[in-house]
């Protein structure tokens, strides 16, 4: 049974309500006030995220809250285990960074700031949702907030990119909903904890999980569903790109983790999980090679996102039915989660750095970057540091994540994934150096900046990149905190 509500459960409700309250207040006040409202909501939201992490840490148990005190299967549960708490904190930190970066950038501030807060609320909803239908609603809210961010400037190209993104996302969510309907029909509940006790390997469960997984992959832009991502992420304004690439694509990935390891802990076979691994490997190779051939900085970074999403899905073949212990006690599982977090910081910093470079130069052609290293040293350094994490060089979060995936691949005797990780790292090194070599080179004629870039914004980019580096000091072993709230024993069908 789902247990009882915990003392600090109200924090979870606050984490969702606060950003949406901010949206409503912004809409009511209108205009420039939206920015002020967001700047008040951001520290408060960060405080709530920290409080959730501390509460999970102190009690060593998942936080739980039942809306209206109605317990599942009739009511809706909010739950935050160690994994949710870490993701909530990551998004709070990153949204504060993006908000500080975006101050005074937009001519239509109301739209950007309300969408930023709406994305935040929807992300928190995804991270704490304990009910598959509730998660569907949160995922749709996230899509509705993320799609307009792509076309903030209203040009035809970005409108087309937004429409394409929306169509992929709608296909994804309707497949997810179809799977949820099948699960409810078969087991009579959508609560994750109740469902995990009732579900067992039979055709309807497989059909439902397959539909939901494919739908989520379309939203996460895993190869071959990546078509929408490069034009959307490269066409958006820099802070919006950082938000989309850093956080929004992580939400569907988080739900795939929930589905595979929480909803049906004992069900997936290794052979099934290999499919996700193959798609991830294809994404890494394809995304990195295409990134190498880009002429524009933002498109290069967007294709790099396609590649880095691939790493997230390498954790499935390595963590499903491990040789010893539970999936979440393997190095690969922790590595996959760390990759999601470190990529969030690194990619957001990279997109913001690219935004500053494009602002200063008036263009983002890689061939024309010569001399920018001297004009914007802090920004280019931040770009390099986040590149370090994408390549997987120490000390960086990307290194720890990829080292754990490698360890997992060796420990599970699936050496081919280790090969993919290493080749992907080499290719990432290639496209990062391609940019840095240009940026640090001497210009043929003196560089003329078309706009001045404030030190404050450069410092914000640097701070976000440093977060990705600091994650490199995480210990190279399965984290105890991430395992909080995961069942130790008594899982049906698991060993």
């Amino acid at each position: 049974m789902p247990g009882s509500a915990t003392a600090n459960g109200f924090l979870l409700v606050l984490a969702v309500i606060l950003p949406f309250a901010g949206v409503l207040v912004s809409l009511a006040l209108g205009g420039r006030n939206a920015e002020r409202v967001a700047l008040i909501v951001m520290p408060a939201g960060l405080a709530i995220a920290l409080a959730i992490v501390v509460a999970v840490w102190r009690t060593g148990n998942a936080l739980q809250y039942f809306v209206g005190n109605w317990k599942p299967p009739l009511g809706v549960a909010f739950r935050a285990d160690g994994l949710s708490a870490v993701m909530i904190l990551t998004s709070a930190l990153l949204i504060c960074g993006i908000g500080l970066f975006a101050r005074a950038q937009f001519s239509t501030p109301l739209v950007f700031w309300t969408l930023l807060l709406a994305v935040w609320g929807a992300l928190n909803g995804v991270f704490i949702g304990g009910d598959l239908f509730n998660l569907y609603v949160a995922l749709e809210l996230l899509t509705f907030a993320a799609v307009p961010l792509v076309s903030l400037d209203g040009r035809a190209e970005t409108l087309a990119a937004a429409l394409r993104y929306l169509l992929f996302a709608l296909l994804g969510s309707i497949l997810y909903l179809l799977g949820a309907a099948l699960l409810y029909g078969a087991y009579g509940t959508l609560d994750i904890v109740l469902l995990s006790a009732r579900i067992h390997a039979q055709p309807v469960a497989w059909a439902a999980i397959s539909l939901m997984t494919v739908g989520l992959l379309a939203k996460a832009a895993l190869y071959p569903f990546h078509l929408w991502l490069p034009p959307a992420h490269a066409g958006a304004p820099a802070p919006a790109s950082a938000l989309l690439s850093g956080l929004v694509v992580k939400a569907p990935f988080f739900l795939v983790v929930r589905l595979w390891f929480d909803v049906m802990p004992g069900m997936p076979e290794r052979a099934t999980a290999q499919i996700l691994g193959v798609l991830g490997a294809a994404a890494i190779i394809f995304g990195s090679v295409v990134a190498l051939r880009q002429a524009r900085l933002k498109l290069l970074i967007a294709y790099s996102t396609v590649a880095q999403i691939g790493y997230l899905f390498l954790m499935f073949p390595l963590a499903v039915r491990p040789e010893g212990g539970y999936p979440w006690s393997t190095a690969a599982w922790t590595g996959g989660i760390l990759q999601a977090i470190s990529h969030a910081f690194a990619k957001a910093a990279m997109f913001m750095a690219a935004g500053l470079i494009a602002e200063a130069l008036g263009h983002d052609r890689i061939a024309g970057l010569s001399g920018i290293g001297r004009a914007l040293p802090i920004t280019v350094l931040a770009f390099g540091l986040s590149g370090l994490s994408l390549m997987g060089l120490p000390p960086s979060g990307g290194f720890v994540a990829k080292a754990m995936l490698l360890t997992g691949a060796v420990a599970e005797g699936q050496w081919w994934w280790a090969l993919v990780v290493l080749v992907g790292g080499l290719l990432a090194g290639g496209y990062v150096f391609l940019v840095l070599a240009r940026a640090l080179g001497d210009p043929i004629e003196p560089l003329r900046l078309s706009a001045q870039v404030s030190r404050r914004r450069q410092a914000v980019v640097m701070a976000v990149a440093l977060c990705a580096i600091l994650l490199g000091f995480a210990p190279l072993r399965p984290s105890d905190f991430l395992q909080i709230g995961r069942p130790d024993t008594g899982i049906v069908g698991l060993r």
Partner: protein, 113 residues
Amino acid sequence: MNAATLYGLCSAVLVGLGLYGLIMHPEPLRKILAFNLIGGGVFLLFGVVARRGAAAGFGGDPVPQALVITGLVVAFASTALALALLVRLSSEPGRANLPSEGSGEEPMGGGPL
């Protein structure tokens, strides 16, 4: 064959037709309509599930009906958003035709930032 099976098959047909339309038709408006067709199929499936009384075994399970109402609102909102984008896109100057498969992507760069 009882009524629940018949409606279940209908919903499968609707989802199949919608999927075909969403993947095969290049025009965005048809894709949006196809998405609504899939939505209709899924909501019908929820109706079938409710009729079978999956949760408690009684005649009509109210939970799927509540889910359908929420789902309808979400589907309506997404259709509205997609149509708004489409209207805006078709009124953009310098763009005679709507994006077809592959035209929104710029694989080798090019095009403004």
